[in-house]
Symmetry: D4
């Protein structure tokens, strides 16, 4: 509730353009749509120009379909993450208005016809350590793309064979933000952090077994990275990394 | 070891400008200075224009003095973090060449005489939840400043009194990157994440007791933030947050 | 075994109204019914006027049916929680005497015909952060209602969109006790704690993934709340919160 | 920021009693005093009639003295918790205006001359398991008293000698809220929860060694209490329990 | 390899009754039967007179059948624990020679015809907190019986209704060893420890949810029992408790 | 509160030997002495014939002196554990009535003049893995002796040199109860459990570093012992092991 | 990127044998084959003469088939671990070129016809504590064999019956490297470490329940082994142990 | 107790060279010296030719002096680790017979005069990530040297500046065993594991803060290394790594 907003409502009220009831309404009404089981926060989209995001896990297929339908109906772009097969089935009815992607487990609204690449949204590099990390890496990549960024994908370059990574460093250095996706010991984030000048967002994955404790080992390793310039998101949170990277990349390109 | 560098050495060798021994040397020699107990990595500074950083904890005062002296002698700018009183004493001999700050526990090289604000380095907001979080917040702020950013400090705006935070949101929204510093339950990061469009870097602090487990509660809370656009650094790692925020802010201002 | 009870038995014995065997029996016999696999503690109900509660998880459908039948047969009101489909099937035979609710996973005895709202039992607000927290929030709400309280439900007002919560604060402040239900980082409890004057009972949920560790992140956050007036129950323990809130609310209304 | 408050400011602005600047100021100015290192939230006191609370740990003696002085100067009542000897020394200058208590590690403003017991604030029972739990129990008791409640203290009644507790149950049952303070295995909370009808707030303490893990064992035990009506605060958080118990007790007595 | 054994072999060798090869064989051959996938340790039975025990979990049905068959074939008594339905099916062929019990998930060799109660093996009390703890309690009881002890079963006497336990204390005090089986907060062990003079062996169970962390809460509580005379076995380890209790009880009765 | 006790009070009351007030008093008065900061539970001693135990950690020297003085004054035998130098100083005034032992950190009442060994109390073996485990082992040994048992001490027989243990097995097998004291990986308990027929009580110690996590590694190992007949007490809880072992040993010797 | 390799490329370039593009290519091209979803690192095989290893878990059957096919097609030997039934089905088409082993869950390329035992590769002893540890032990054994070592298998010699182990020590001492596989308390590693002079690689397994926490108890125990000469790999990581043991054994035999 | 040993004693007994008492004595007497507080296991030295090792932490200076003196008096070589200043003071009296090293916190017996390098003991590389890891790295290096190995020290080559490591790889590859010492995220072990063919023993250090949890982050990372050929020892266990590396290196050189 920033100053401009308050000023604007106050002026509308003083001038009579807004009555008391309408002014109160203005303070509370617009940013959400209430579906009973969910209040859709449209504020973020208005503010940052990114699509509305629906986290499907823990929601019933009916709830997901309801929320997505509401958003599409209002002309909002939408990104749904962590979709299961049941969710995909519930979303099938939207036809070509939604792009379903089973590798990244996402559904997103199709771009408007004729829409080209978004100018000036910057480049995000998504670098992942192993084949098993692909679903998380793709969630990050799809999210960044949905937020307007261009994406460079670099796959299966874990540090056990450091040459695989070194030969791609030249490309990666061109990115405005770098996402490092790795499970097991998560060393990729530290090595990347020492090789590039862009901010590195590290995504620990739950790939591993035993003392990886569902991704805890990679998470702790990334939080303790000896390289500066590295921050971390939750285990398997490709979405969070893609979203923040897109925020950084967009700001990095300027006019 | 990027392509340009390899190309350049290869060409030097083919042309005879570099002999075999010199070429091999070129592959390994320049980026570090070896003090016996430390190899100073000057590569990062050359690459990103940020000062060389010395993490004092775990190093003897003599080692810290030696490393700082080596860097100052080479004309490098330097930032030392986590300095204890013993470290400060060991650094006292550098006189006005170093700025010592006991709140943030840092020492940094004084800017060159006549150096003004660095144009185009962007604005970092450092927002902290409580008075006890100040040392970590200041480490973040000093680091960002040492890396060239302007810094807005917003102190003691924890979520238990949400009005304290809301009244400052207008200012915070002007920043290119936002650092959220909080201990206890660390809710500040999530609330901020929902209020601003800039990337939020969350720093959990060890402020708290009992089930805060030395900052673990805040760390987990921040990693699980329900707001998009939030990433996290290690507990009490003000330096890491300030460094990454400066990276983001610098890129955000463009030419 | 309070003083009045002992006094009464002693007097009965001295007067001869109770023989030795009967007196001993009186010390042990009445508060429980023994079904072999369970001793039903009817003491709590006699004391606080709340229904007897059956925690279904870990009990076989036959055991649950046996316990519920025993209670209904004695004219006790009953609330069964954590019922699975198997439990619901085993309870189907009680027909209209039991209300089955699959969202909250509860079954409870229907109110006596003609029974109106319980006067003077106070108002409990159940506030939840996200759609996925609904089952736990409903368990809390149903429990509070079964214990006689009126309930205000406020759904999907997580702190990532703080306006969603702020617009409902006026209503929530009318409650005698407030239940904050949230998973992920659990920040809702702290923000609510700073906004209302009633006691806040926080329920961490297992909603989340990765470093939420099954609700541990929200649990720790809530235990470390920077707001005063917040206490916490077990992860997903909607029942416990609803029960204690009803206790508080009932006392709050007085004669 | 509730509806009444917004309405009032809007009306003041429309009537001309408030100019634009003043209206904006009204939205943000009044609830806090800014000392540079701290923003004192006076909102809670205005709302609930409880003293302002200063958590001393992590604050310098100078900071604590400054905050307490500011509050006393404004005529606010104040409670300072977790005070060390250094804090007590810094507060000595306030003389009789502050009551210092080394067992509970608190300082609080003396009641106004002639002030009697606060009518209608209810009774809080503070029950503790062992002698070593006394500092935490006293913090709870002093806090509840500072918030206007009467307090019944029951000391050293751990469950290893269940008779010690049973003989006091009659008294404890008269309380409007019960605080159970215990370290080690924390079983006191469950046993009390089964014996009284008032809400039980459990405080795990760090008393113990080895696998108590600094109070974790008692914390987990209390969160898993098999008795209904029990909620839990942070380890050693006597303040939090005393505060919430006073909230409950005050509401329990009614007009 | 005790002194008597060494002496005996040495004497046999000196006398010529044992050749070198035979002596070496004597050092290694007798106590085990090697099935390829298992070496059956018959030593424990010879030593303590208890049946050989087969832990079924993690073994294939074929392996379990093989081991049990080998033991029965040698005339050993046998107790199999943690048997699944698959294991029961594999054991069905042994007919009346094995008693299968699905509540305790055990199979044991039937007593010899005409065998009466084992004189002088003492009494073990198995006390459990809730209905859901029954499988573990029964594993303890069946084990103690298989080892020759008499068993008193006391079911569903959790501390939330302390009277349920107090009315049975008189019986429990007659036991030579007491087993306390409880999940959730595990307070039963401490309360029992304060009420009886016999050694108490506590068995935490995995009954519970959320912050019980699979029985960890009860385990820690029992390890931190404020009552003396309590020791603890692994979570859900009814077998271990029954075995040790039988050892204690047998020794307690003497000639 | 057993049946005999209730019967006796009831009879006294019916006969008129006890008035109502006296009968009530009888239910509550005798087993404790109230020092204000402590209620001394004398019940355990009356019941089991073991000395009263004072856990010094967390109690002030004055409190410890007060409790010990009260007990000695009543002619009770007493054992104080976890005494620091400050506690020893506070106890010095009792002179020869107390035996102070700095290795085991205990103080105990001297046996009555002329008292010989307690007949029929059995033998406890205290076996420890390393020199650093000695303080815990001695706490166990002194406790067992204070409870009347004879004690065999076997020192520094860790499993890294299995021969050191094997050569003492003959002696250890003569004990009625065996205490296994070990830090680090705690393997001693499992090896002993396989070698003796007496119950083994395992005491994990905090000896170790790094991933021993203050004794957690040994604790978990002992709880997971592959040998039957092993139960476990808290980390460093020599007292608990000594107490339970004496209970077992005393029962093992019979009339 | 070792010196010889750099020297060789530099010389090739100076001599003209390599053009600039070819030289750059040489720096990056050869060690991997890019399948899109995987970059196959053939470097390790070239270096150490061990087969290429494919970790199947987390890869789709199609991906595993693709990688194995690529390797077989290039004439590489291959070892696939953690194969599920789905993976085995996908690999069935390779016929006799692959050996499938369901106990160890591995598939490996058949040795060339006529290939005998690899001379000079040393002996690895794989020692396991229980029948349930067999799959992990077999993974270790098969891996060591695939890397050329001879393997001695010693099964079911857990420390609860120490004689079972002692009678095999003579054989085990002949090995160049010893692998100790154990779950539960993992004591086998420490006992073995004290009995043999070869390096011991300990493999904790997830065999156990309750406080074994999926192998954590054994892992911690092995890390804290009181015997020197023991190192540890991840829980259930038979492959890692077999691989390192083969490395050690091969070096131990010399020319 | 291997077969040769048993054979030899048996033959001695049969021949009459050993009487029964002497034979029994032979089974138990020789490998240890009993100092009361310690049994010195001289068996390991006899077996592997490595010095006897004394772990000082947790032992009193007197105990350490006693053990070291006993060993030196028997002509054994000795290595004492984790020595504090108090231990060094207690050892000062041995003069030149002991080499004291405060960086590695070790004391070891001086080599015999004229003793040169031990032929054929192989080369161990000790590689450490940062200056703060030096004490642990030196403990590893000194241990390896005390066991006869040659040692290559490579300091401060953490992965944040991968070039620092790459330029030393050529040297490191010459080692028979490689020790990787690193705190923080411990990535050094994985990177080294991919670069060398020798076995890598990883030593996590407690260097770090916050979410390093005393070395846990590095420990987990190393256990989850994506590179084959890596095993791990306890946090800060330089001794363990040095010991095992020397074992491997010695075997690697052969005749």
């Amino acid at each position: 509730m920033n100053k401009d907003r308050i000023t604007s409502i106050l002026e509308g009220y003083r001038s009579g353009a807004l009555g008391m009831e309408a002014a109160l309404e203005a303070f509370k009404g617009f940013p959400t749509a209430d579906l009973g089981y969910a209040k859709i926060d449209t504020q973020r989209e208005l503010r940052v120009g990114f699509p509305e995001v629906v986290y499907c896990a823990g929601k019933t297929p009916d709830q997901v379909r309801g929320i997505v339908g509401e958003l599409l109906g209002r002309g909002c772009s939408v990104l749904a993450t962590r979709a299961s097969e049941e969710h995909f089935a519930a979303l099938a009815g939207f036809g070509e208005r939604l792009l379903l992607d089973r590798v990244s487990r996402t559904a997103r609204s199709a771009p408007a016809p004729g829409a080209g690449a978004q100018a000036g949204s910057g480049l995000v590099a998504v670098v992942c350590a192993g084949t098993s990390d692909l679903p998380v890496a793709e969630e990050a990549a799809v999210t960044a793309e949905a937020c307007g960024a261009s994406v460079l994908r670099v796959v299966d370059v874990g540090v056990a064979g450091i040459h695989r990574l070194l030969e791609r460093v030249g490309e990666i250095r061109k990115a405005d933000a770098v996402i490092a996706v790795a499970g097991m010991e998560g060393a990729l984030a530290s090595v990347l952090g020492g090789l590039v000048a862009a901010p590195v967002i590290a995504v620990p994955t739950s790939v591993g077994y035993g003392a990886s404790f569902g991704g805890l080992a990679a998470l702790l390793a990334m939080l303790n990275s000896c390289a500066a310039g590295v921050s971390v998101v939750n285990i398997d949170n490709g979405f969070g990394a893609g979203y923040q990277a897109a925020l950084i990349a967009r700001r990095a390109v300027g006019p």
